[in-house]
Amino acid sequence: MSLFPSLRTCSDPVELMRAQVALFITFLGAGFSIVSGGIKLYRHEYAAGGIDLLTAFILALGLVLVRTVLDFRIWRESGLILMSVYFIYLFTSPNYENSAAFWTLLIPLMAPYISGLRRSLVIIVLTLCVVLIHFIWISAPHYTLVFKIRFLAVYLLISILAHAYNTMQAIVLLSLNREVSRTKELHSELEREKEYLERLYQTLPCAIISRSADGTITRFNAETERLTGYSAEEVLNQSSQPWVPSEKSDNADSPDDCTPERTGSNIECRIRRKDGTSLDVLGSSVPVFDKNGTTHTTVDLFFDISERKRLENELIIARTRAELESSKALDASRAKSVFLMSMSHELRTPINGIVGMNSLLLDTPLTREQHEFAENIGRASKNLLGIINDVLDFIDVETGSMVLTPVPVDLRDLIDGIMSAAAENTENKHLDIQALVDASVPPCCMADPVRLRQIISSLVSNAIKFTPSGEVFLSVRAAEESDGNVSLRFDIIDTGIGIPAEKRQMLFKPFSQIETSAARTHYGSGLGLALSRRLAELLGGEIGVSSTSGKGSTFWFTIKLAVCPPPAGKPPLPVNARLLQGITIVLITPHPLERKVLIYHIEHAGGNTTTFSNTTDFIEHLRISQTGTTPYNAILVADEEGKDVPADWLLPVKLETRLRNIPLLLLSARQRNTMDEPGISTIVSRPIRQYQLITSILKNCRKPEEASQKPVVTTKHPHAEPLGTEDLLEMKPLRILVAEDNAVNRKVVERYLQKAGYDAEFAKNGAEAVAMHQKSHYDLILMDCLMPEMSGYDATRAIRYDEKQTPPLSSVATVICALTANTSQEDKNRCLECGMDDFLNKPVSWKNFTATLKKWEETIRTRKKRPSSATEKSNNA
């Protein structure tokens, strides 16, 4: 049988051409269908089936058109060609579904040879066969019932349509097959994804339990089995979770129990395993919602954290143990401090008794040997008391019970006091002890004077202790100043034995001594520096040392203080005023440090200096210069240790005629009275005090212009200072004598005078006062009335008598003011009758004292300006 009978039997050329065109169109449609289907298949597009249906529709339309227009026979050839092409496609495709399509294609091919009812039956039977084959082959679980029904319905529909239009059926089946093929691909892909997820689910190191909305456990992975001890079979489809403890643990420290209600963030909880043991886990529950937003399933996740919890517990135990140990140590330390404090208090009481009794003993008649013993006892007791006080202070700082009391402090005043006390305690060493407060240091700061004095005194006395000879120098300067606060640096520099480098680090440790041998030469508690360090830290600073063994040390410390205005009633010292402008001072001192300090103070006050090491050099200098007049306004000479005044070293200065009218100031550490030193205008005490130095120079020297313009007023008084101008007169202090036998009252008057800025001399009874008055003139005498040997009344009478009998030493009479506890008018009259001018009631108050002093000072100065009338008035009185 010929493959193409219709074409071969066709004799009409027009019909033949039509048949060839139809064949060509069929070829074209089939090729397009295969190619487009192949592309879609290659792209794994699920929706390809839809597009293939469209393709099929176009092809079918084309073929129906051909069949209608052309002859039925031509369709038959076309179908054969189509089948041939499709066979090729079948053999090259591995998809089993295509076999079904092959069988289906047989139906229309067979159809022209069967007719009538038989034809219909054959078609139905064959269709059913194909459907059955499809159901057998397409039996994978991923094909849902709906899909299968849909497939069957479409197939039947197409079969029925194919019954009428055989061609279309074949092509539509081809497309359906392709859709089935795509679904199969998708199915494989889903299978792979599912397998991967399952593997992941089972191997994750985390327990994963899926629960349905009603709480039934639907999934359960291998890690859950490991952690809970339950197998999947035991718990799947169960609504309870046997690992969740039914009751909350009594142990407050245990983690929260895991409950199904806990969702969201991670919580630490404890589960109960199948074997009864507990396991610490970190768990969370995650709800999974469906597309409507309702909870579809809940996934519980657990991680095993038992190892972490074990380490945490160990850490807590270790920390608790350490805290306990630390607390025990602290308690022990506190107990030790309290014990030391009470012990020190207990020790201090009897030592105070020893010190007090010993001072009383020293006042009783003793042999020389007994006196020496008693003095040794006194020294030792005071040392011991000092050590105990150090211990007490140290404990106060250590226990935090030391409270600072800041008050306005004049640092220059404070340092003057410290250096004076230190100079008295140099253990007979020939040391040059000096202090220099830089001009940058403010006049007044808020500080605790007791504690500040404690640090400075400790460091200065240490420097003195370890300096056999040379210098001890305290320097104070402002390091920085900001926002009303100033940072001060104190340097205590000595030329002592120094400290070896290896021993410097233990200096500031409590109870440490550099010398530890039994044969050590310096004693102490070893607390001084440690205490100084703590105090400096308490004052907001730090402390340190630099030293060269054998050459000396420099101890330094810094503190931060608030700058404040000086307290009312106490004007600041005029440290920054150029009071000595135009004045030239000759400085004669062999000590370089002393010279440096003197030059600083004088030049800072605007004065000029010329320095010499000794008086011989100075006289030699004068001899060489050979000038008639000298350009000097004052000479300041430092006394030499071991040499008395007047002595050979001072005599040349006194004898030099060119220096006769120039005031001579003596710088001396010893207590001297100017009355005992002829030719000396005033004594300037050592160590140098800035304020005293400047005021002494001011009070005693003449400015050059004044010397040239006005003649010097000379008096009969051998020590009277040359008076040139009223200004200098104003500066000249009142000479005051206090006659008082009572030590307490004497002290009161002395302190009042000091506070008011006056110097005074003291007599212990009336007789002494009279004798002193005979030697020297006093502007004012404060006279106690009841005194031993000679009462104040008798002493006043004697003084007034002297004034009448002998020419007065001064141009004006002495003012005598009674100090009396008797306030009756009778007593006052008695005072006036014996020649007194005024009276002050005892106890003397500061207010009355200053008012009286001011009143009489003005009177005395007025009288001095009008000497003759005043003298007359006084004499008449």
Partner: protein
């Protein structure tokens, strides 16, 4: 105010007299305490030696210095002794000195809470 009602210590008045200068007061108090202890010994010696003038002077000193530091009661008792020494028997004087001593101790005790500890001065 009768003398018996005088306060043992009137610190406020004493401080006011000294321009409220506590430092100065402390300094003077220190001297007062030291000198008064030896003053009692001196008075006993004066009594033994029948030194009436000396006793009057010592009582005067005690009166004056006690009032200075605010010991009004002690000051009044000392004044009383100052005026009655010539008329008192030695036993009466000894008793007065003993009484002054105990008042002095009371004064010391009153100073401690005011921030002036006696005799434990640091």
């Amino acid at each position: 105010m009768p003398k018996s009602e005088l306060p043992v210590l009137d610190l406020a008045t004493a401080l006011e007299a000294m321009d409220n200068d506590r430092e100065m007061y402390g300094e003077i108090l220190s001297m007062y305490l030291t000198s008064t202890i030896s003053l009692f010994t001196e008075m006993e010696t004066q009594l033994r030696e029948n030194d009436t003038d000396g006793l009057i002077r010592s009582a005067h000193t005690l009166k004056s210095s006690s009032r200075t530091i605010g010991g009004l009661n002690l000051g009044a008792s000392a004044e009383k002794l100052e005026h009655t020494v010539p008329s008192y028997s030695p036993d009466e004087i000894l008793e007065s000195i003993s009484s002054l001593r105990s008042q002095f101790i009371k004064l010391c005790a009153a100073l401690s809470p005011e921030g002036f500890p006696v005799p434990l001065q640091r």
